[in-house]
């Protein structure tokens, strides 16, 4: 359990530190669509935080980091629950 928390803190700190350096250029697929002049269609579902930003937070850095932290805890919780269920039904 302690190891888990230590790793988690490391992940969060590492992310907060590296986030400002992340490239905002389009990724491979976005670039291909852009080159072919294909507009990304209007989203059917925008999620709570489209493009990893909190609409209400002004600072872009803080907005991304907070969205990232939120995502980390959602992923963490869901994976942990899944792990428990998978293991319980087994051994």
């Amino acid at each position: 359990m302690r190891g888990l928390i230590k790793t988690l803190v490391l992940i969060l700190v590492g992310f907060a530190f590296l986030a400002p350096f992340a490239s905002t250029d389009p990724d491979g697929l976005e670039k291909v669509a852009e080159t072919l002049k294909i507009e990304e269609p209007e989203n059917i579902w925008n999620g709570l935080m489209p493009d990893y930003t909190l609409p209400t937070v002004r600072s872009p850095y803080l907005s991304t980091v907070l969205a990232g932290f939120f995502g980390v805890f959602m992923v963490l919780g869901a994976s942990f629950a899944l792990g428990k269920v998978v293991a319980k039904s087994g051994k």
């Binding site: 905002t24 250029d25 990724d27 491979g28 670039k31 992923v75 963490l76 994976s79 998978v86 087994g90």
Partner: protein, 223 residues
């Protein structure tokens, strides 16, 4: 590589959902028979790591970026079955909360990244000749992670290329070479990052690399 909604025709989106569901049921069943209670924490932390890593885009060339997908990384930590499940959770959360990758396109995204990524385990196994250390093992990790990204991009380019929006502008004749061009390069980033992390984990925390126990004990051949 996350496909947004609107790029895929309904038929292709549905078809990819069916394929991916098949793989998910398969990994779920396999996972039940091989993992014990210690799975939950390693699954949670490695999914969280991959989620964060996917937010950190690195620049490649000509104003394009890429990010770690993390399939081979997960496969080395968790083994193939839990790796597929772990990546699926990451993709699900990205689609639900951040509109990164569409909901209808999620089946395709699960196939391109989670299924291909998790199955890269068997490529590492094959290339390394079941020896989970030394130079040959690291070269296998490097190669498998590169291939997993290139194959994922190939699958993605076929899915979009056969869909109307892209077939109007040339279809797979255009999408396949374009996607491969970028992802051959992005895959090198994937391979470098994956190999670095696996090498360091091997040195500092070999117990974290649970996936390797599958290779060693040949647990995959049990049934």
């Amino acid at each position: 590589m996350h496909i947004p909604d609107g790029f895929l025709s309904p038929e292709i989106a549905a078809f990819m959902w069916i394929i991916s569901m098949g793989f998910l049921i398969w990994s779920w069943k396999k996972a039940k028979s091989v993992y014990n209670q210690s799975l939950a924490s390693s699954l949670a932390v490695s999914s969280a790591f991959v989620f964060v890593a996917q937010m950190l885009n690195f620049p490649i060339v000509y104003g394009t970026s890429g990010h770690l997908v993390g399939g081979t990384f997960l496969a080395m930590i968790l083994g193939p079955y839990a790796a597929i499940l772990s990546m699926t959770i990451v993709l699900l959360m990205q689609a639900l909360f951040f509109a990164d990758g569409g909901i209808f396109a999620l089946g395709a995204n699960i196939f391109n990244m989670a299924v291909i990524g998790g199955l890269s385990f068997f490529l590492v196994k094959l290339l390394s000749g079941n020896v989970e250390k030394g130079r040959r093992f690291y070269i296998s990790v490097f190669t498998a992670s590169w291939i997993s990204v290139v194959l994922g991009a190939l699958a993605c380019s076929l899915e979009i290329g056969f869909s109307p929006i892209f077939s109007e502008v040339g279809g797979i004749a255009v999408t396949v070479p374009a996607m491969l061009f970028w992802h051959v390069l992005i895959g090198l980033g994937e391979a470098a990052i994956t190999t670095t992390f696996i090498t360091q984990l091997y040195r500092l925390r070999p117990t974290a690399l649970n996936g390797l126990t599958f290779m060693r004990k040949g647990m995959l051949c049990e049934d």
